[in-house]
């Protein structure tokens, strides 16, 4: 039995992880220095969710993937130039802050409203995907709130594998403590999955997919709804880089035997 799923992936942009990040105090709260100048990428775990969604859609004919993204329109457009070449999807864009210092509830509320407004959405076929944590706020909170707002109580976080069984049920592997996976069986859609790394490599760029995607990406960006995240009730006392710089003792010209003895003594201390 195959099911035509409606897979909605929530994912936004984050600064390229290789960039130097420095917090600054802005009138609206903490921000990153030169935030709008920093090169951005699709949030890594949200990216895995998108690739898993596309793979699921490919294996279940009739399925469709949407990417719902909240971020500054100009930065979203830059990132979509690359992401759109990876897998087929339809973009739903919201024009607002993608800062890690925004409130997860406000972000989730905007995302849930955007999902609910997707024309023709059938909850019995709905799978909501996203990263289990972002590389910005890193709270692991947004997806659960999106699920609650959409009335989805079959939720899974830290997902590394989804298998659709012959009877339409879903087998899901979630990361838990100690390098283990919890295995669950869910009756089927609707369900929400916050993905960890999954099992799929990043797809190669495919210009043909990019051309098809861009037909809907550009109009979606043009009509992106302005979304204000006020941070109501939330105030920061401060944000700072860790100051700790260790005085590293450099040990050169010692034999492996001497180093090994020192390390073993340290381990046993």
């Amino acid at each position: 039995m195959t099911t035509a799923y409606q897979i909605v992936v929530c994912g936004s942009i984050v600064p390229d992880p290789l960039q130097t990040l420095e917090p600054v105090a802005a009138p609206t709260g903490p921000a990153l220095k030169n935030e709008m100048m920093l090169p951005a990428v699709l949030d890594p775990w949200a990216g895995h969710a998108l690739f898993e969604a596309a793979n699921l859609a490919k294996n279940n004919p009739g399925s469709k993937v949407w990417l719902v993204a909240l971020g500054p329109k100009a930065k979203l457009q830059q990132v979509m130039m690359t992401v759109a070449q990876k897998v087929p999807f339809e973009l739903v864009a919201l024009d607002g802050s993608a800062s890690g210092f925004t409130d997860a509830t406000e972000t989730a509320t905007a995302l849930a409203e955007a999902i609910a407004a997707i024309p023709g959405l059938d909850k019995s076929k709905l799978l909501v995907f996203g990263g289990w944590e972002s590389a910005s706020r890193g709270a692991g909170a947004t997806m659960q709130i999106v699920g609650e707002r959409l009335g989805i109580v079959d939720q899974f976080q830290g997902v590394d594998q989804l298998t659709v069984n012959a009877d339409g049920s879903l087998e899901i592997l979630e990361r838990i403590e100690g390098g283990k996976h919890q295995v669950s069986r869910c009756a089927g859609a609707p369900a929400l999955l916050g993905w960890a790394t999954g099992n799929l490599p990043e797809p190669k760029n495919n210009p043909q997919v990019g051309m098809v995607n861009m037909r809907t990406v550009m109009p979606a960006l043009q009509k992106a709804k302005p979304t204000k995240l006020a941070g109501e009730g939330l105030s920061f006392a401060g944000v700072a880089l860790p100051k700790q710089l260790r005085e590293t003792k450099i040990v050169k010209d010692q034999s492996p035997d001497a180093i090994a003895q020192e390390i073993v003594a340290w381990i046993k201390k």
Partner: protein, 344 residues
């Protein structure tokens, strides 16, 4: 006046995990700093009496419990319903819970259900001028922020390993049972089991004293111009066994494995530490053949004592980040370390 609820789940044997006692410590400290506050405990599991008894000498004045087979498994729908019911029975304003995978899955959703807010991965809770603030890290442990909220209820998930465990003594606690009527829609999911490597193949040990970090250098050409991957595998696994250490790895090394190359096959993304991996907490860390500056080094942000072995004396992974950097060949040193540990 704040009512602080500590939420915890019992383990399979009915006990409380260390992470639950750490959350209890944070909540008790908060209670002590907030004049007129009340501390209560909510427990979920198959049976909760033994767990309640194990912390009966804590400052908590009430104990609530949700029990039954439906609440043994870590399932969103039933855990959220249980937490919601306990919260309502306790009439809490602040909820403190360990950010275990089980609670991390449900806390934000429960906050949404209750009209409150949740903050997760919290590493510190403080009270200043009567105001509660929490500390947590942003941008994958690259900067730390302190924040406060006016909304209630405020659900706070404490990162395991970030706090001392409470030394609450045992006794006899009177547990008020809370009935939860689970609808059929909450039973659409069933936890069917766990999947884990065999005991001798498990390389992730959260309770280990030492984190052993392996970098991509293990798979590169060595002084003789050849790679020595099988030897690296033997040395790393030998060290883990002898030192009873947990294994972390850089992203580059894990990715090599994921690309199908015959490279350290025991590594998976679960071992990955750093920007897109875990940031485990261990007392000591020994890195080998690692390289790179921030952000790669965030993987051992929460390691207390750090030592590194690298051929590069200017290695950004170690300079300014480690306490000691041994400029040496990791193959030679780890061989000797394994011999010494085996002989001990």
């Amino acid at each position: 006046m704040e009512t602080i609820l500590v939420l915890a789940h019992t383990e399979n044997d009915g006990s409380l995990a260390k992470s639950a006692r750490e959350a209890m410590h944070s909540a008790a400290a908060l209670h002590q700093s907030l004049a007129g506050s009340q501390l209560v405990v909510g427990l979920i599991g198959d049976h909760v009496q033994a767990a309640a008894n194990s912390i009966a000498a804590s400052p908590a004045t009430k104990y609530f419990g949700v029990t039954g087979t439906d609440f043994t498994q870590a399932r969103y729908a039933s855990d959220a319903a249980a937490a919601e019911s306990i919260f309502k029975a306790a009439q809490a304003t602040i909820v403190v819970a360990p950010a275990t995978s089980r609670w991390a899955r449900v806390l934000p959703g429960v906050a949404q259900r209750l009209g409150g807010r949740a903050d997760t991965h919290v590493t510190g809770v403080a009270v200043t001028d009567g105001k509660i603030s929490v500390s947590r890290w942003y941008y994958r442990q690259r900067m730390e922020g302190a924040l406060t909220r006016t909304q209630r209820p405020w659900l706070i998930g404490i990162d395991p390993g970030s706090q001392p465990a409470c030394a609450c003594g045992a006794g006899t606690a009177a547990v008020e049972m809370v009935a939860v009527a689970l609808p059929d829609t909450a039973r659409r999911t069933t936890v069917t089991g766990l999947r884990e490597p065999k005991a001798d193949a498990q390389t992730i040990r959260p309770d280990a004293q030492l984190l052993f970090v392996t970098g991509a250098g293990w798979t590169k050409k060595q002084a003789d111009g050849q790679t020595h991957v099988p030897e690296a595998e033997k040395l790393i696994l030998g060290f883990l066994k002898a030192a009873r250490a947990s294994l972390g790895s850089s992203k580059s090394l894990v990715d090599l494995g994921g690309e199908g190359q015959a490279v350290l096959p025991f590594l998976s993304h679960l071992n990955q530490i750093g920007q897109t991996g875990a940031t485990p907490r261990h007392a000591k860390g020994l890195s080998t053949c690692c390289h790179g500056e921030e952000p790669h080094t965030v993987g051992w942000r929460f390691i207390n004592e750090r030592r590194a072995i690298s051929l590069d004396p200017n290695c950004g992974w170690a300079r300014g980040k480690a306490d000691v950097l041994y400029v040496a060949d990791a193959f030679a040193v780890v061989t000797k370390v394994n011999e010494l540990l085996a002989a001990a």
